[in-house]
């Protein structure tokens, strides 16, 4: 993975020192609340319902074991012993003390980590495919490009005070696992007719209150122009994005109100002015790629026969392997998901003991690396077949083997009313009810792939509008109600879920979900996934059943 050079390290050290000074000035009354809010947000620090929340960046979701141990140590020393992985592959601490944040940032800097631009109206952490570099359907590893974007976006002097936050995602595979169509900018690695690799650029996608699917504004961008094109988009957005209403300030609204053709013209005109002199050289790409060179894989890993033996002897292991591991581009290896969706813990949460153990497992079985996914799980990306059984046993002892990846209980869930000052309703409680109700694994596995996303308010941090089943908490005169949507997807077939009908009461949510699943089971054709059935039969059969007995 990318290793900091002296310049990278100097910059993050200087950032820690800067934020320490800013915190001291705020505590002395030399910075106003408003000023400090802006500055602390750009260092990942929110003030939440109960305590500050610190969001730490995990660039494109990649961590090494040393960093994971540091996250554990911070959870122990500065928090309540656990932390939470977010839908943008980042990690959040819910209970740090404001005065201690500069110290936490200093600890992070010691392992090449930071919380820079993880919040605020600026360029956020660049996200990517959690299977980058190991996915069989990948054109090329997207991470070198992500790192180049990370450096360009870090401390970009022109774009630190944008109309609103700005998120970039990069994907290089046939299956879009990075939800690129719902980002302010989506970057796809593509190959042109003459076999050269370049980028397809999408703009104007986004979730939140007004979910919009991004549109292609550049079908093919030559490789060397990546940064100048991004800069042109950002400049147009910075100058023309709306600043009169924060709910209309994202680039998706600018693209929508301007019209994609006119917007594209504006970007291209700006790009023509700046592209010369901003080229990324081939040698820079090549040297960046050396940071992400393939691991020294065992060339005879595919000759293992112990896995088949273990599979035939242990059906629980076999089930886990089916749901919680996936193909690797090297024969003899698999990528292994650590499910952070155990029935008895909030989705995405992990304890410091688990983190320490995960770091050890990464060292022993996956070249010392761990990835975070936007569905709030972790991945050991490079596990040899012969090690899968042992790894499973060790992970099982850590409660990381719930065999539910991609199933109904692999929910995305925001912190909700329990932690977040923006929330209108609880979300973790709904997730718990779903877990309690759907506790029969055979039933869950029979349902197959279903993505449930639960957000506690319109801001939609859990991406409910692209959940196959989306659940959105709303406040009605102080009572928590939930709107249900069906048919959303953030993958290749990107779509925004349709509203099922009026919001349902908290105690009726699980019954409604159960009814929806009954309708699916009744209508599905053989192995047809839930999403396909919804798209085929439409929302009406579901609506009729759910609202049949009020």
């Amino acid at each position: 993975m990318y290793q900091y050079n002296d310049k990278d390290q100097t910059l993050i050290n200087e950032r820690v020192a800067q934020f320490r000074r800013q915190t001291e000035r705020f505590l002395k009354g030399e910075l106003t609340e408003d000023q400090f809010r802006t500055l602390r947000l750009m260092n990942g620090l929110y003030i939440q319902t109960h305590a500050p929340m610190l969001r730490v960046a995990i660039p494109y979701g990649l961590l090494n074991s040393k960093q994971v141990r540091k996250l554990a140590e911070i959870a122990r020393k500065y928090d309540k012993g656990y932390c939470h992985f977010s839908t943008r592959q980042n990690v959040q601490y819910n209970w740090p003390k404001l005065e201690a944040v500069p110290d936490i940032l200093e600890e992070l800097a010691s392992v090449q980590m930071h919380a820079i631009q993880t919040s605020g109206n600026c360029l956020r952490n660049t996200t990517s495919d959690h299977l980058a570099g190991v996915a069989p359907d990948e054109l090329e590893d997207p991470r070198p490009y992500c790192e180049i974007i990370r450096q360009w976006s870090t401390f970009h002097p022109e774009f630190a005070y944008l109309p609103r936050k700005f998120k970039i995602a990069v994907s290089a595979s046939k299956t879009d696992r990075a939800a690129t169509q719902f980002h302010d900018i989506g970057v796809h690695l593509v190959q042109n007719d003459s076999g050269q690799i370049g980028f397809k650029i999408l703009a104007g996608g986004g979730l939140g209150r007004t979910p919009i699917i991004g549109q292609v504004i550049k079908p093919y961008l030559e490789k060397q122009h990546l940064l100048s094109y991004l800069e042109a988009i950002l400049r147009i957005y910075n100058l023309y994005g709306r600043r009169d209403n924060k709910y209309k300030a994202r680039i998706k609204i600018l693209v929508k109100e301007t019209g994609v053709e006119k917007f594209t013209e504006m970007v291209n005109a700006e790009w023509e002015k700046i592209k010369h002199g901003m080229e990324v050289s081939l040698s820079r790409y090549e040297s960046m790629k050396t940071h992400f060179a393939p691991h020294p894989y065992n060339a005879v890993a595919n000759q293992d026969s112990s896995l088949d033996a273990a599979l035939s002897k242990n059906s629980e292991f076999a089930t886990w392997l089916k749901f919680n591991t996936t193909d690797h581009k090297i024969d003899g290896y698999r990528a292994v998901f650590a499910s952070l969706k155990a029935p008895d813990s909030p989705p995405g949460d992990v304890t410091h003991q688990q983190l320490d153990a995960i770091a050890n497992l990464a060292d022993d079985y996956s070249f010392g690396e761990i990835r975070t996914t936007h569905r709030q799980n972790l991945v050991f990306a490079d596990v040899e077949k012969s090690n899968l059984f042992t790894l499973w046993q060790k992970m099982k002892a850590l409660k990381l083997t719930t065999p539910n990846i991609g199933t109904i209980t692999d929910m995305i869930c925001c912190p909700g009313l329990d932690f977040c000052s923006l929330a209108n309703a609880g979300s973790i409680g709904i997730a718990k009810q779903i877990n309690d109700t759907f506790d029969n694994l055979d039933y869950v596995h029979d349902l197959g792939e279903i993505k449930i996303n639960i957000s506690g308010c319109m801001n939609g941090c859990a991406h409910q509008s692209v959940g196959n089943i989306g659940i959105l908490g709303v406040d009605k005169k102080g009572v928590e109600w939930y709107q249900i949507t069906l048919g959303g997807s953030s993958e290749n077939d990107a779509s925004i879920g349709d509203r099922l009908g009026p919001a349902v009461a908290k105690e009726k949510v699980v019954t409604a979900v159960k009814t929806i699943l009954d309708v699916y089971i009744q209508h599905r054709h053989q192995e047809e996934p839930f999403l396909n059935t919804v798209k085929r039969i439409g929302i009406t059969p579901f609506r009729e059943k759910v609202y049949a007995n009020p």
């Binding site: 802006t38 630190a160 005070y161 700046i274």
Partner: protein, 152 residues
């Protein structure tokens, strides 16, 4: 009043003339809004003092004439510190208008924005609170390196 120019304390010799104010009798150095500058070309031509322009975030780049290159001072106003349009305006003035005169940040910008402002081409700073001048001087050196090329 003192300002910071090229990272040094300097006496300010300019005054902003609000749109509803008449031109002064004395030939002092004044800045006027872009609107006034565009609308009162003929009158302003006869003004014996030096003329500069004050840009606001709402001034569109397209309405800025190429002749802006010739003024000695362009002020970029920050009515609120969160409005980052001024950062792009400064960068465009330097890199696309090839403006070489003074670009001065005025208004409600924060001390903590001085470093980034200086990197997009702002080379002087008028602080509302003169007591902050010493602290402001230290802001130019917050970082010793950067990932992007600088205008300055």
């Amino acid at each position: 009043m003192q300002i910071l120019k090229d990272q040094q304390l300097t006496d300010n010799t300019w005054k902003f003339l609000p749109d509803d104010a008449e031109l002064p009798d004395e030939p002092i150095n004044i800045t006027v809004s872009l609107r006034r500058w565009l609308q009162e070309q003929e009158i302003l031509k006869k003004y014996p003092g030096k003329l500069g322009i004050r840009l606001n975030p709402t001034d569109s780049v397209e309405s800025v004439p190429v002749s802006i290159k010739n003024v000695q001072l362009i002020e970029i106003n920050f009515p609120v510190f969160t409005d980052g349009r001024g950062f792009s305006l400064a960068k465009i003035l330097r890199t696309q208008f090839n403006y070489e005169g003074e670009i001065r940040a005025v208004g409600e910008f924060m001390l903590d924005q001085i470093y980034y402002l200086s990197r997009v081409g702002v080379d002087s700073f008028a602080l509302e609170n003169q007591e902050n001048l010493p602290d402001a001087m230290a802001m130019f050196n917050e970082f010793s390196d950067s990932y992007q090329t600088s205008v300055n």
